[in-house]
Structure formats: C-alpha cells, structure tokens
C-alpha cells in the first residue's frame, strides 16, 4: 500500500494534533458540520496518494521545467506530499534498468488506479524507431502504460496536439496521445502550451487529487477552468486594441507605450490559455507584458500557421502559401477582370447585332 496523506504529513513533522486541527479547518472551509471532521480525518488516514507515472516521449522537457517552477502550490509539495510520483526519468534518483523496472512495478501494483502523465508524443514512422526508451519504441511503452491507467494527462502541446515535431512535413509522424492508434480508451486531459503554465499543471493535479475526479473539460479535452477564455479576453493591453492603438513595428512609439501587439502578429485573439490571468514565474509577467506578441503555443498546429509576426496566417494549397487576403484580393481581381473583358465582348456583340438589324 502506498503512503496515505496522514503518513506523509506525519513524516514531515506535523503532529496528530495539528493534523486534526487541519481537518476541522478543512470541514469549516467547505461548509460542513462538525460531524464531518472525523470523516475527513479518516479519509486522510486511509486514502493513498495517487500514483503517477510520468513518461517522456519526443519532447524538450520544457513541460517538466515549467512544472518544477510552480509557486502555488510549490512543485515540491505536489511531488512529495500530494502525489506519489513513481516514475519521471528527469527528476528521479534511479536510472537505467532500475528506473524502468519501477514502471512495471507500478503498473502491476496499481493496475487501473494510477494516472499516466505523458510529456511529448510518439513518432509512428519506422515502427516508432525515432524515439527509443529502454531499448523499445516509446509508442509501445505508451500503449502499455495507457491500457492500465485510470486516466491520462497529456502535458503540453506535444502530447496534446503534436507541436514542433509534428509540424509540416512531420518526418517522424509524431502523433499526439489521443491519436495514437491502439491507445486504450481512457479519459485524456489535454493541458496544452509550450510549455503549459506551471500553476495550471499543478492545479490540474491538485484538482484531481482533492475531488477525485477529472476537472470539467471542453469539447477538445482541455480543463475549462484554464482554457475557456482567450489571452485577448483578459489581456491588460485590450483597451489599446479597442481604442485602435497598435504597435506597428517593434521599435516605434507604440511599442514603447505598450500598445496592442495585434498588428505585429499577436495570436492572443485566437489562443485559449490562462497566461493573461495566471501569468508566468509566480505571476510575474507573460509574453505580451514583456512586449512580444503571443505566438499561440497552446493552439493546435501553431507552428504551421505562418509567421509569428503577422496577424493573418497562411493558407496552404495550390502549391503556394498565401494569406486569406492575398488569395481573396487576387480572386476578386480575376473576377473583376473577367467581368470587364466579358463586358467589352458584350458591347461588341451588342453593337454588331444592332448593326446587322439596321
């Protein structure tokens, strides 16, 4: 049996007296009567911490790096007290065969009860040979671990959408978790971003732990509490957008005054994330606050949407790349030109037929 919350609290030097006080406080905070205090204490004494397997596929570890910087709650509290992070090759002490053995052990011991956290994705080309973990293709490890998991968390844009390694032409056929063929039918929570905001990551874990259920997801599988609004909706530069005050180039007066970055390609209006509310590095700042347009890193296929510095993104097809306006204006010019030519021909025809009549 895994350690319970109570065990962990005791181990960290919290007395039983303090523990019971905490349970009373928790009951009061949740609006529950005194009779719930022993129930909460009982749950804390008996409920094991959730075992988590954190697998790494094709990725850059920016999700882990972000996670470790969480301030509310501190990453150490999440890893050491809230969850039982059984496997995460980046931060675990064990290595090699020892480390890999833990995966099997966890799968056997907590079959159907652990959470599988996936960072990065699986390349499918060449039978998955582009990403080998412990001598086997990552995709096999992923399928195996997924089939015994309770739920899957897709960390970051790689696991959620594919991200840079899945950008055109996607030579390794990197495939996001939910689209891997043969993946077990388990609930998948997408936490996109490159990387996701650290507090968003820890909050998703905390939520599942506290309420023992998945957070409410939108149709695309993202937790509504962090991905239901666009950067644009809560952007502190929004008044400049509404006023019509834009940065025209990065060295102009508007840039110094902190005007809206819409014209230099900000994807805030099309990006669902919590950057403009939660911000980064403990609420210190976020890209737009630092004067750079949002690149839309938490959106599906953001690498394939043309320049980061243009508002309109390119449409591919017909062997060319062009923005909607270029395609549209060209079409309108062709239609207009055709009409003019046709009109001229019609005039000639009209004249000649009139001439014939007379």
């Amino acid at each position: 049996m895994h350690e319970t919350f109570y065990d962990v609290m005791r181990r960290q030097g919290i007395t039983r007296r303090s523990f019971l006080k905490y349970c009373s406080l928790a009951a009061a905070a949740l609006g529950l009567g005194p009779s719930f205090v022993p129930k909460i204490a009982h749950a804390m004494e008996t409920k094991p911490r959730i075992p988590v397997l954190w697998l790494h596929g094709l990725e850059c570890t920016c999700c882990s790096e972000s996670f470790l910087r969480s301030a509310h709650p501190l990453a150490k509290d999440v890893i050491l007290s809230m969850i039982s992070l059984d496997y995460d090759d980046t931060i675990m002490a064990a290595a090699g065969h020892q480390a890999e053995a833990i995966i099997e052990e966890t799968i056997e011991k907590y079959d159907g009860n652990y959470i599988l956290a996936v960072e990065g994705n699986a390349p499918l080309n060449e039978d998955g040979m582009y990403c080998i973990i412990g001598g086997k293709p990552f995709v096999e490890q992923l399928r195996h671990a997924a089939s015994h998991a309770k739920a899957i968390v897709s960390w970051g844009s790689c696991a959620s959408w594919g991200c840079v390694q899945a950008a055109r032409p996607n030579p390794t056929r990197a495939t996001p978790t939910h689209m891997v063929p043969g993946i077990a039918d388990k609930p998948i929570i997408k936490v996109p971003g490159c990387p996701p905001i650290s507090e968003v990551m820890t909050a998703v874990i905390t939520y599942m732990l506290t309420f023992e259920k998945m957070p409410e997801l939108d149709r695309q599988g993202r937790p509504k509490m962090f991905y239901s609004q666009r950067i644009h909706d809560k952007c502190y530069r929004r008044p400049h957008f509404d006023a019509g005050q834009f940065v025209e180039s990065f060295d102009d007066e508007g840039a110094r005054k902190g005007y809206c970055l819409y014209k230099v390609g900000c994807k805030g209006p099309t990006t669902y994330n919590a950057c403009s509310t939660v911000r980064w590095n403990g609420g210190l700042s976020f890209p737009i606050q630092a004067g750079h347009p949002c690149i839309g890193c938490s959106e599906d296929g953001f690498w394939d949407k043309g320049s980061f510095y243009e508002r309109q993104t390119n449409v591919k097809g017909f062997g060319i790349e062009a923005s909607a306006d270029r395609i549209g204006a060209t079409s309108a010019a062709i239609v207009g030109g055709a009409a003019a030519v046709h009109a001229a021909a019609s005039v000639v025809k009209h004249m000649t037929s009139k001439g014939n009549q007379e």
Binding site: Q229, E299, A324, V335, H342
Partner: protein, 236 residues
C-alpha cells in the same frame, strides 16, 4: 433581332414583392458594412496616439460588424420564411430543380448566351437557371457559411454558457482545427462573397441592357418589364 419598335402587348409581371425588395436592399447594405468593417478588423487602420480612453475606433468597427451581422441573420431567417410565404419565385434561389430536364437544357442555353454563341436568351419572369445556380451556390451557401462561422467567432467573445458559444463555437472551432483557422476561413468566405457581389452587379447591368427583360428597375419597383412581345419561352 430585337424588334423594339413594335407595340408591347405583354403585360409587366409583379415579381419581387415588397418584403423581398426591402430584404434585398437591407441585406445588400449590411453586406457592404460587414465587408468593410470585417476587412479593417483583420487589417486595422493606422494606429492613433494619445490616451486609450479617448478612442474606441476598433471597438466601433467591431460593434458595426456585429450589428450588421445580426441584421443579416435576422434578414436571412425572414428570407427563408418568405421562401414559403411569398410568391412562387421566392423559393427559386433555395431550391434548384436539378431533377428537371428543361432546367439543364435552359442552363446550357444560358451558358451559350454568356459565351456569346446563342443569338438571344430566353424570356423569363423569374431568374434564369444560370442566375439561380450562381445565387444558390455563391450566395445562399456562402452566406450560411459566413453566418455559422461568424456566430462561432462571436461566441468566442461572449464566452462559454452563451448560446453563441454553446451552439456554434463549441463545435465549429474544433471542426476547423482552431480559432486561427476559423478566422482565416471566415475571411476567405468574405472574399467569395465579394466575388459574388462583383459578378451579381455586372450581370445585373448586362442583363438589364442585353436580355429580354428588365432587371435593375425590377428589384426597385417589383415589376418585371419586357422588351419584346413574343411569348415567354423560359420556365419559371
């Protein structure tokens, strides 16, 4: 060919009823507003300096876009209603009689007329088959596309829990991939509509001059007038 000096024995036909004419012109005006404001939402006007609270340029442009959008939506719903309640021509642009042989024959004839091969077009009370086809594909369906994608984009602003989001954004955004692609497609839709408007206006002028019936004055007065008194040889 055209014996314009003969006395007209054919009577004018009342073809566009008043509600339909009002819809046509309100809709046309709203589409112009939508295209202009929509263009500047994607490619905003030059930046202004000063305090943000002194201006609301982008805000007003977007506001006009949304108002005109609702005008088009309400108008289009009315237009569908009118297709059933109006005269028999009111249904024309919604329902193409592709199962009728004469329709294909007359479409072909109209194409020949536009290719300057046929000597003269047929005489119609309503729309000719080529007009019906163009309006059905490049107007009705493009407008439906723009209304749906437009409401989905609008829902992004009104947010989850609003009908715009729940009935449109919620499924249309994933359908197009993400919000950015939806924006791009909505804009391409605008350009298709602009192409339709160019064609529509050119053809209306051309038909008014060269066909056997009145076009432009009809959408103002409702009456279709004829230039010759030979019998109507086109269906509809």
């Amino acid at each position: 060919m055209v014996q314009s000096n003969q006395r007209h024995s054919e009577e004018a036909v009342y073809i566009y009823e008043a509600p339909l004419r009002i819809w046509h012109w309100i809709n046309a005006l709203a589409i112009v507003v939508l295209c202009v404001t929509g263009y500047f939402m994607g490619e905003p006007l030059p930046s202004v300096s000063g305090e943000a609270y002194d201006y609301y340029i982008m805000g007003y442009i977007r506001w006009m876009h949304f108002v005109a959008g609702y005008v088009v939506i309400v108008g289009f719903l009315f237009r569908i209603y009118w297709a059933f309640m109006g005269n028999r021509h009111a249904m024309q642009i919604f329902l193409i009689p592709v199962w009728k042989g004469w329709w294909w024959k007359e479409l072909f004839h109209e194409l020949l007329w536009y290719a300057m091969i046929a000597k003269e077009p047929k005489k119609y009370a309503g729309h000719n088959p080529l007009a019906v086809l163009t309006m059905h594909l490049a107007f009705v369906w493009v407008l439906i596309f723009l209304i749906f994608t437009g409401l989905a984009l609008y829902g992004e602003g009104t947010g989850m829990g609003t009908w715009q989001y729940d009935y449109f954004s919620d499924w249309i955004i994933p359908l197009f991939g993400q919000s950015q692609d939806l924006h791009t497609w909505h804009r391409i839709g605008m350009w298709v509509m602009i192409c339709f408007v160019i064609t529509h206006m050119y053809v209306a002028v051309r038909e008014d001059i060269m066909s056997r019936q009145s076009i432009i004055s009809s959408i103002v007065s409702g009456w279709r007038m004829y230039k010759d008194s030979r019998p109507m040889d086109g269906h509809e």
